[in-house]
Subunit: 228 residues, 2 copies
């Protein structure tokens, strides 16, 4: 029974890694499409999101079946419950990659990245991709050094998010209203993507160390003008 | 044992209702503060969010304890797992109410609601409050007519969300960049709040009917200009 349970847990872990890989592909393509106004690539991301949703749903069903049949307790139980939560966060990360792709498609043939923010969004995109790759590796290896790196990347993304608002609210900003809307939404999506990764990292850290900290609120960093 | 289990489930349900009540208070105060630039009221919402977070965490711990001690199966198991998911969504709704309060505080003493959008945001706020009250009642009574009403409210909120983008992207929009940023973020927050309520309603409906539909993606309605 114990053997069976551990085999089931490994299956769950493999599935989480597989979903994280799909999310990584989605954010790689979405940020590339966003940067290059590649509408065909954006379409790929939008169409592929259903696969992430389906895989997350299948994983949830498997986790519920493990709870029903094998009735784990203590740490084993927390692993299964955490898998359910991690799958929900991965599914949201896929949605956010899709939103970035949708912004790209919506503005096509215009560029979705407003003038003057190209380098900022390129960097945010690279960091989101890095976060997603590290998260996949963290789920595969439980190497907690990766959790620390994800938190550091997230801090950098938060700084860039603030800098977007500083830019659009500065006197030098000459973007049209549509550019302001795009910058606001795109920056929020990039920032939330990494927030979810941090949230997952905390769960993995908790499972490895037993050190539970409450879920982080997502940072409110719209208020560059007030230094928030 | 069965008796004990049903008492535990009732406790869980009571706690969900209690958290939904706190969320309702938060969105009532947040939308009022947003509409009247009442920074003291906004502060109340921001300070009270920790209580929602704590209650959600306590409920999760209780649910995990039920899984460990009473090892429910079949429908009972799904009720407990759903409670975990509903608590996560309620916690997010509390965060979003907090974000609306934070927007209010950030702009104070200026109004956070951009000129020309007062009636739209008033209506969105009323609908979010209505959704939250109906959700609380749905969790209390499992009256599925409320789930239907929540979906209808959500449709209206989506339409208002689209109308915000139509307004700011129209030639008549004379808002400064800060007003465009505020309108974009505030509209997104109001819309996401109701999305979470719909997501919870679907879980309650599923538990009552066994009819599971996959989680909805949040609607991508930024693109009023393209009719998305």
């Amino acid at each position: 029974m114990r053997e069976v349970f551990h085999q089931s847990l490994e299956d769950v872990q493999d599935r989480l890694v597989e979903i994280a890989e799909l999310v990584t592909t989605a954010i790689e393509k979405a940020t590339l499409a966003f940067g290059t106004s590649d509408v065909a690539l954006a379409e790929e991301v939008i169409e592929a999101d259903i696969i992430i949703d389906e895989r997350a749903l299948a994983l949830d069903e498997q986790a519920i079946e493990i709870l029903a049949r094998q009735q784990p307790v203590a740490r084993d139980l927390r692993i299964v419950v955490s898998a359910l939560r991690i799958s929900a966060s991965l599914e949201r990360m896929g949605d956010i990659a899709e939103h970035i792709a949708q912004l790209t498609r919506m503005r096509f043939p215009e560029r979705a990245i407003p003038k003057g923010l190209k380098s900022t969004f390129t960097r945010m995109g690279q960091l989101d991709v890095e976060v997603s790759r590290r998260l996949t590796e963290l789920l595969r290896t439980q190497d907690l050094a990766l959790a620390e790196q994800i938190r550091n990347d997230d801090d950098k993304i938060d700084e860039l998010h603030i800098s977007v608002f500083e830019k659009v609210l500065s006197d030098s900003w000459q973007g049209e209203t549509a550019a302001t809307v795009d910058a606001t939404l795109a920056s929020r999506y990039h920032e939330r993507f990494a927030d979810h990764a941090v949230s997952i990292s905390k769960k993995v850290t908790y499972l490895a160390t037993g050190d539970w900290s409450a879920e982080p609120d997502d940072t409110f960093v719209a208020g560059a003008s007030t230094g928030v």
